[in-house]
Amino acid sequence: MDLNYTPEEEAFRQEIRAFLAAAVPPDVREKVRLGRRLTREDMLGWQRILHARGFGAGTWPQRFGGCGWSVVQQHVFEEECAAACAPPQIPFGLRMVAPVLMAFGSPTQQQYHLPRIIAGEDWWCQGYSEPGAGSDLASLRTGAARGGDHYVVNGQKTWNTLGQYADWIFCLVRTSQEGKAQNGISFLLIDMRTTGISVRPIITVEGEHEINDIFFQDVRVPLANLVGEENKGWTYAKFLLNHERTNNAGVGICKRSLAQLKQLAARQQRGGRPLLENVRFRDRIARLEMELMALEITNLRVLSAFARDNRPPGAEVSALKIKGSELIQDLAELKMHALGMDALPYLREALDPQWQAPALLADHYPPEAPPLTGQYFNQRKTSIYAGSNEIQRNIIAKMILGL
């Protein structure tokens, strides 16, 4: 039993840390730290910086330009990125469609798309869910009919994240009504500039434009944009879902959130004393820190087992998803509570990096405050998306417990 990182892993961490200290643009770092809005360019630009240093795609195999890091190295990288307030890497290309293309895409697809993803040239988004097909994804109805050298796609996708920025979308579409619902699904790559695609913003609970409906009306997609075989999309979709679930615990993000919570509690006043001195509030922090201590080790146990056995993540990650999502939600909740009455103001403009608190507010309203209540609201999504926590419990019951 050895809880320590190897000297090589420690050296790797130092290398990453040094790189990040120099590489994250200060304005972007500050936006991330204070929860201000990031632009499309902030995020793509960060991907380009990573790519320039050779860190564009940590877990991709080296033959596709990736680093070929172990899951432990990738974890260290993500932890350091979170600590350094680096922006998130956009996952839809890097972690979702790319592994599918590597495993099932044509050489042409691989050669065109993978370099553009790693280099931050294309923004991808996901076309999975539909209004009638959420957890029950196989009941999707967006159709792709063959017409000459094209598919003609009609239908609607929803819960599409950041599609307003996207150059490409990968879609599950129905190409056959035969047999079981899973059987007639195909996996298509669609250029977002194609005629007939429209994007309707869905404003989320905290008032931001983060997700969309995407409508397809007679959208012509070249047959060459089919991934793998027609009607085999369900296999690729499941493959993708397994890959999506690798960083389920979000330990790095939780650590940053906990650190921010502690800073806030040390600065906020209650009855003339720091909130951190209030035993009730401090105990709530302590409970979350204990949960995080446990989660960090559980996460490393799972990751190191994957790395050692060289196998893809299994159902164990469902436990990480449940605990990680609950923890990030609880941290957000506690940060809101740290604000007291200052949790009530909704200053939409305060999420712009240029915003300066008016003199009256500056007196009491800490610079971290503007996004916190909205983050509490928004974080409710983490126990819903990527397989709701109820679905995760189903997975544990079935796959691990054999119930």
Binding site: S135, T204, V205, M336, A343, L344, P345, I384
Partner: protein, 382 residues
């Protein structure tokens, strides 16, 4: 023993429900939120006509002399329809404070306008950097010549942007934290030296920070006895907390209804998701939480004007803390059971969730009130 609303109260409830169905739908509410002060002035005038604005105020000033339970009827409907108008702050909090603390002349000057919907009040009491302590007042009122000069700042004054008059807590003696030495003043919105920084709140209404830069007031701006306002302010805030419990009840009950309907209509894997036992049990727990929440809202209303301040404070504290926790549970689980539909602005569920969250954060979160209640156990045992 009878836990039902009276016939008069049921009549009031029905009137409000009819009004809401016609004039305060979710879509109408959305337009009200865009209004100058974030609510519907027309609705406010309707409330005046229905007698709501004088409901808890004395009859000699145009009110109806109603009880805290009468107010509960109104606030429950405010919760159900997520109504935006400043009923809590203007009528319950400030109206109740004037009723209890002001002289007959002051009441006669202000309250009729409140009852008629012509005058809106807001309470400027909090200034403690996110704290909830009503004694933590640093704003100072100094006697000068025949009147007072007020200097200081107030934070997160609810419904301030639409208010005509402010009730301002200021210190005429002592230091921040002292229970005595706090006085209450009536200040017009256009008083020279009064600066306002308005903003929206997370649940759709408005608030502001206020700065008093040597605001000069006449002697008669003082409400009640100099230095002795805190007990009345605390009482009024307790009554407001009881009203918030009722509002939370309305919102939580409506949210449970919406969630139950969703469980019955939303299909996944070929069946309504309400067929899944894990979700059935969750919904059962939400139902139980609503029943318990309702009981605590009833208790809070029954004790909101309790003469014994210690009993009132500990009972309302228990209710506010309990209701905050139950409402949080219902709110979070309703969002969870709605899945993605629970986190979008276009669906009412997220608005109920936000309002329930902000009710908990107003005047003190559940930890704050648990602490008050818990500490009262010590006093009781000694």
């Amino acid at each position: 023993m009878d836990f039902r609303y009276s016939d008069e109260q049921l009549g009031l409830q029905e009137t409000l429900q009819r009004f809401i169905a016609r004039d305060y739908t979710f879509e109408q509410r959305r337009t009200f939120m865009q209004g100058a002060h974030g609510y519907s002035e027309a609705a406010w005038q309707q409330y005046a006509e229905l007698g709501l604005l004088g409901l808890p105020l004395p009859e000699q000033y145009g009110g109806l002399g109603g009880s805290a339970t009468d107010v509960m009827v109104v606030m429950e409907q405010f919760g159900r329809a997520l109504m935006l108008e400043p009923y809590l702050t203007c009528v319950v909090l400030c109206g109740g404070l004037l009723r209890d603390l002001a002289s007959p002349a002051q009441c006669a000057q202000v309250l009729p306008g409140v009852c008629e919907g012509k005058t809106k009040l807001a309470l400027a009491a909090h200034e403690s950097r996110g704290g909830y302590d009503l004694a933590a007042i640093a704003t100072v009122a100094q006697r000068e010549r025949s009147g007072w000069v007020v200097s200081g700042r107030k934070h997160v004054v609810l419904d301030a942007p639409g208010a005509d008059l402010f009730l301002v807590a200021a210190r005429t003696a002592g230091s921040p934290g002292d229970e005595s030495g706090i006085s209450l003043f009536l200040v017009a919105k256009d008083a020279a030296g009064l600066v306002m920084e308005p903003y929206a709140t997370q649940s759709g209404s408005r608030a502001a920070d206020l700065a008093f830069e040597r605001v000069t007031l006449p002697a008669q701006a003082l409400i009640g006895t100099a230095g002795a306002a805190l007990p009345a302010i605390e009482r009024a805030v307790d009554e407001a907390c009881a009203a918030l419990c009722a509002e939370a009840l309305g919102a939580a009950a409506a949210l449970n209804e919406a969630t139950l309907a969703y469980l019955k209509s939303r299909k996944q894997f070929g069946v309504p998701i309400g067929m899944f036992q894990a979700l059935q049990h969750r919904m059962a727990d939400m139902y139980v939480a609503e029943e318990q929440l309702r009981s605590m809202a009833i208790v809070a209303a029954a004790h909101a004007r309790e003469a014994d301040a210690a009993v009132r404070t500990r009972t309302v504290a228990a209710a506010k803390a309990y209701v905050g926790g139950a409402a949080r549970f219902i709110g979070q689980q309703a969002v969870q059971l709605h899945g993605g539909m629970g986190v979008v602005d276009e669906h009412i569920v997220s608005h109920y969730f936000k309002r329930l969250s902000m009710i908990e954060m107003s005047f003190g979160d559940s930890d704050h009130f648990l602490a008050r209640f818990s500490d009262s156990l010590l006093a009781a045992s000694s």
